[in-house]
Each structure stands twice: as C-alpha cells, then as structure tokens.
Amino acid sequence: MKITIRYFAGHRDITGRSEEQLELVPGATVGSLWELLVGRYPRLVGYSGRILYAVNQEFGMLTTELHDGDEVAFVPPVSGGRN
C-alpha cells in the first residue's frame, strides 16, 4: 500500500523535502512508519515522543493503522507556549 507523508517546519529541513510517497506492508501503523523514517532520517529521532500524529488531516496515535492512499503528517511541536 502507498502512503503519502507530508513534512513541515523542522522536519522538512531534516528530510530535505516537503512530501514523499512510501510503499508500506499491510498492517503498518503510524508508529512503525515513524520508526522507519527515523531509520532513514536519523536526525528525526530528537522528535520522538514530542510530536503529534495526523492521518488524513485528523489527529491519530502511534497505534493508528494505515491504509492505502493515506496522507500522514508528523506534526513537530507548534509555535508558542503559554506566555
């Protein structure tokens, strides 16, 4: 199955691209995709545990299962805080 990944902000700087398509095995999850990407782009590892996950523009979890044609985005920490 084919998945589209969108990269933003610091993730785009690290990967050098704003999106890419990957062929994944059936049963792949957001978590397994993230592991695969950290292997491919080691500098992403600093974001592990500090990001939000989006599948088809809705927030998902590491356990969210992926399907053919899904669009996944790993949302790095967003701008700003309480002050």
Binding site: F8, Q57, V75, G80, N83
Partner: protein, 158 residues
C-alpha cells in the same frame, strides 16, 4: 466574502471579522491580535516566517472554535492566521469572539489562543537579527533553556 476561518498570506484585518460575528443578542465582542514582536527573551528578531499544514489547520481551528462555543457559551467565533514572511508589528493571528456577555468572550479568546499554540499545525520560524534562524518549538521549553525570567503577561503572543 469573509470566511470565519482562514489561513492566508495576506495582511489580516479585524474589522470584517468583528462585523461577521456580531449579532443583536451579542453584547460583547473580544478581538485578540497576535503581533510579531521584535525580540524573544531579549534576542533581537529580524522577522518571522509562518507555515501551516493548511487544510488540517483550518479543520483544527474550526473544531477548537466549536469547543469554545460550547464550553464557554459564546456566540460566533472567527479565527484568521497569517502565513509567509511577517515583519515586526504585523498581525500573525486574529481571534474574534462574540458572546452575550464579556466574561465568556474573554475566557474563550484566551483558551483559544492557548489551544492554537498547542495543537494547530502552524509553525513559526524565527529569523534573528544576527542572521541565524530556527523553527520555534515549545516556548515553555525554550524559556527554560534560556534561563530567563520571562514576562508573565499573557497578551504578548507570537
């Protein structure tokens, strides 16, 4: 036609949003403008660049506004966020909330700004006056790293 929720690279103007949310039974309209500031923790800023996962950001803004309407009991809410290169003094975000009474409108406005910073897929790149640049992460973490005593006022976002 003015939209309630918008991500745009054009300058923001609050007047059409105030007109949009007003209604005869709404006795209060609160407008919050997040303005590009000339420094972060004392380090001089040259300008900012904002970027959004636009289609998702619009959905998130609309969801947050829906939540604020219910929990705070407000009327209509409009949120516009700017993207692209912004100069110091320009408006990065506008939140305009109508309510029957002012307390609900103020409460919803502050809650919305906090939540937008937490979950909306919108990012800010700080380009420092010395030429360096960085994507801004969580400001709470950054302030801890800076070790500075930051202002506690909640009205000087962005």
């Amino acid at each position: 036609m003015t939209e309630y929720f918008q991500i745009t690279n054009q300058p923001l103007d609050s007047a059409p949003l105030v007109a949009l949310v007003q209604a005869p039974d709404m006795g209060a309209v609160v407008t919050f403008a997040g303005i590009v500031r000339d420094n972060f923790g004392g380090r001089a800023t040259a300008y900012l660049e904002y970027e959004a996962y636009e289609s998702m950001a619009l959905v998130v803004l609309e969801q947050l506004a829906g939540e604020a309407r219910v929990t705070c009991g407000t009327g209509a809410i409009a949120i516009h966020h700017r993207v692209g290169r912004l100069a110091i003094g320009q408006i990065a975000v506008l939140i305009v909330v109508a309510a029957a009474h002012r307390h609900a409108a103020f409460e919803a406005t502050e809650w919305l700004m906090d939540r937008i910073k937490e979950v909306a897929p919108i990012w800010k790149k700080e380009i420092w006056a010395d030429g360096a640049s960085e994507w801004v992460g969580n400001e709470v973490e950054r302030k801890a790293e800076l070790g500075d005593q930051m202002p506690t006022r909640a009205d000087e976002h962005e």
